[in-house]
């Protein structure tokens, strides 16, 4: 039969990572001869493969949670054993002594400011670019879009000195402005196409009734654009909350560190302090709120993150 010669789809050269999944694939991959049985065998096979990957994804995370409750000694001597007792003191140590509380606060401040700014400035620019014709419209649009494909690190070298000269280096408000600027390309791209899909009649009616353009935007168009704002807001929230490259370069003051760089800092300093359990508690502490939020708002998060790529 011809069908037996068709290789299973993802049988590309094995990635380093998939080594463990590989044996399962090759063992069960042979399609059966009888078409009637294909469904059943395929079903078992797909469940097998899917379970293995689910296991590979969940395992490291569960392992981290488990490790965060162990003492330093057992982390090193038996990484896979369950904790003897639940060492909650790891968590309180991480929260206070290891400055996790400060990192959380800084991250919340930066992300709150930059998310609000991104949505406001992004929707303003996108609305004008989507709805008004004027000379230079296309140029400005592509100027924004171009920012999505350029390697950020190239701009960061001069930006470091620009920020330094303006007194914005190592400050929370400086970081907020940079986050907004680097979030604009995708936000403008996404919202421009979103504003184009909205009906024009409502805005026209508002203008005829004597509302100014500004008022029409804030009281008519923004409420109508809510679904788009939520999608792009979630996208930016995760991107800014998890941001690592920008703060690493532009925010080196220990007092202002955000979560991701704080944890890396913690990992480096634990090298000689030896408080590994505290570090794991910190890692899990940073991980759980995002995971919890994701599980609760699952549908919206997935829609927000995949929306851009499906366009």
């Amino acid at each position: 039969m011809k069908t037996t010669e068709t290789p299973p789809p993802a049988d590309t050269p094995p990635p380093a990572d998939a080594v463990r999944t590989r044996p399962a694939v090759t063992k069960t991959a042979a399609p059966p001869d009888k078409e009637s049985k294909t469904g059943g065998v395929l079903n078992v096979f797909s469940h097998g493969v899917l379970v293995i990957w689910a296991f590979l994804v969940a395992m490291p995370l569960l392992w981290a949670v488990m490790t965060s409750f162990k003492d330093d000694k057992s982390i090193f001597t038996s990484p896979w054993s369950l904790p003897d007792t639940l060492h909650f003191e790891n968590w309180s140590r991480a929260w206070t002594q290891a400055h996790m509380s400060d990192y959380f606060l800084n991250t919340v401040l930066v992300v709150a400011g930059s998310l609000a700014g991104t949505l406001l400035l992004g929707s303003m620019a996108a609305y004008v670019l989507a709805r008004f014709e004027f000379p230079g419209n296309r140029f400005i649009y592509y100027l924004f879009i171009g920012g999505m494909s350029f390697p950020i690190i190239l701009a960061l070298v001069p930006l470091f000195y620009v920020m330094n000269n303006m007194g914005l280096l190592n400050t929370i408000h400086g970081l907020i402005l940079v986050y907004i600027a680097y979030s604009l390309p995708f936000t403008v791209f996404f919202l421009t196409s979103f504003f184009r899909t909205l009906p024009t009649s409502v805005a026209e009616a508002a203008i005829i009734d004597g509302a100014s353009h500004t008022r029409t935007f804030f009281q008519v168009m923004l409420p109508m654009a809510k679904p788009g704002l939520i999608s792009v807001g979630i996208f930016n929230f995760l991107g800014q909350w998890n941001q690592y490259l920008l703060p690493t370069v532009l925010n080196t003051d220990p007092d202002n560190k955000v979560l991701s760089q704080g944890l890396v800092q913690l990992a480096v300093s634990q090298g000689y302090k030896g408080d590994w359990s505290g570090l794991f508690a910190g890692l899990v502490m940073a991980m759980l709120p995002v995971l919890a939020a994701y599980i609760i708002f699952q549908r919206q998060v997935v829609a927000g993150l995949t929306a851009g790529a499906l366009k």
Binding site: T6, A18, W63, F150, I152, L154, Y161, Y244
Partner: protein, 307 residues
């Protein structure tokens, strides 16, 4: 009316555009200019040196090895990640046991799988990198102790300490953290393909694997292609910076075996005080990124299928 319109346009564009120009566009232009100078970054003085930085770059072994690693990431990662993701997404959507007489159906619990697969996407790449740094630890890490537990005591690779393995270890982490996103993305795309297509093909005697190449992949091609570009840009840029900088010894080691262009720019600018040379490498990275995007768009061009 016209007057009010232009005032409104200017009023709404001035803040976003000013911020974007100052923090994004202007630094990009500056860095291209700086790549022709001998600016150290430490003092404001510099002179023009023409193409000196570029000739130096072409003689720099670290640059070439970093370029090679970046290219390996950009070429291999999208293939592996998108391949795995397509495979899993197909299994999720077509692997079901034909319930209720439907010719094709998703596996039971596919929404559960999708939730779990998506986990890494919401985590910071910094957290992921730290976690795996521990897992890879040769003495007490989770991977080597698991190897001991199953009786493979003799096989205990140094992982990140081994120049031959380190790059693959880093890449595995990137595969781990990005595959789930594309599974969910492709799965959404596959769900929107009408079931009749599959039913007709199966009636005509096609196998399920044939339907993947003849129906699923062509109809999903646009998404795959944009995913390819997106993944390549990630692999060349910020994502590879974080994993290499956090996980590897040096960072970039051992023996420059994992250095990537993004990290090299960072090191030259902020560790070695060679800002001008750093921007030169950055320009090279920009060219590689643009060339990558152009090649993928060109190679991937197919007739767009409407359905």
């Amino acid at each position: 009316m016209q007057h009010g319109k232009y005032r409104f346009i200017v009023g709404f564009l001035v803040f976003p555009l000013a911020l974007y120009a100052l923090f994004v566009v202007w630094p990009f232009i500056q860095s291209i200019y700086y790549s022709f100078t001998d600016w150290t970054g430490l003092s404001p003085d510099f002179t023009m040196v023409g193409f000196d930085n570029y000739t130096r770059m072409l003689d720099d072994d670290t640059f070439w090895s970093s370029l090679q690693h970046s290219l390996t990431f950009a070429l291999l990662l999208p293939v592996v990640v998108l391949g795995l993701a397509l495979f899993f997404a197909f299994m999720l959507n077509v692997g079901g046991r034909g319930r209720k007489g439907a010719a094709i159906s998703g596996v039971r619990g596919s929404s559960f799988y999708k939730i779990v697969y998506f986990f890494p996407q919401v985590l910071s790449i910094a957290i992921v990198a730290l976690l795996f740094q521990f897992a890879y630890n040769p003495n007490s890490g989770a991977i080597n102790s698991a190897l001991s537990a199953v009786g493979l005591d003799s096989v205990k690779p140094e992982w990140l300490g081994d120049p031959k393995l380190a790059l693959w270890c880093v890449m595995a982490v990137l595969v781990w953290s990005t595959t789930g996103f594309f599974v969910v993305l492709f799965s959404a795309g596959m769900a929107s393909i009408p079931k009749d297509f599959y039913e007709a093909a199966l009636l005509d005697g096609a196998s399920r694997f044939t339907t993947f190449f003849r129906i699923t992949l062509p109809l999903l091609w646009d998404t795959v292609q944009s995913g390819w570009v997106y993944m390549g840009i990630l692999a060349l840029g910020a994502e590879s910076f974080a994993v290499v900088q956090i996980m590897t010894v040096g960072p970039g080691g051992p023996a420059d075996s994992t250095n990537v262009l993004t990290l090299l720019v960072y090191q030259k600018a902020f560790r070695d005080g060679q800002a001008a040379y750093a921007t030169t490498i950055g320009v090279a990275l920009l060219l590689v990124t643009l060339a990558f995007a152009a090649v993928v768009m060109r190679l991937g061009r197919r007739e767009r299928l409407e359905f």
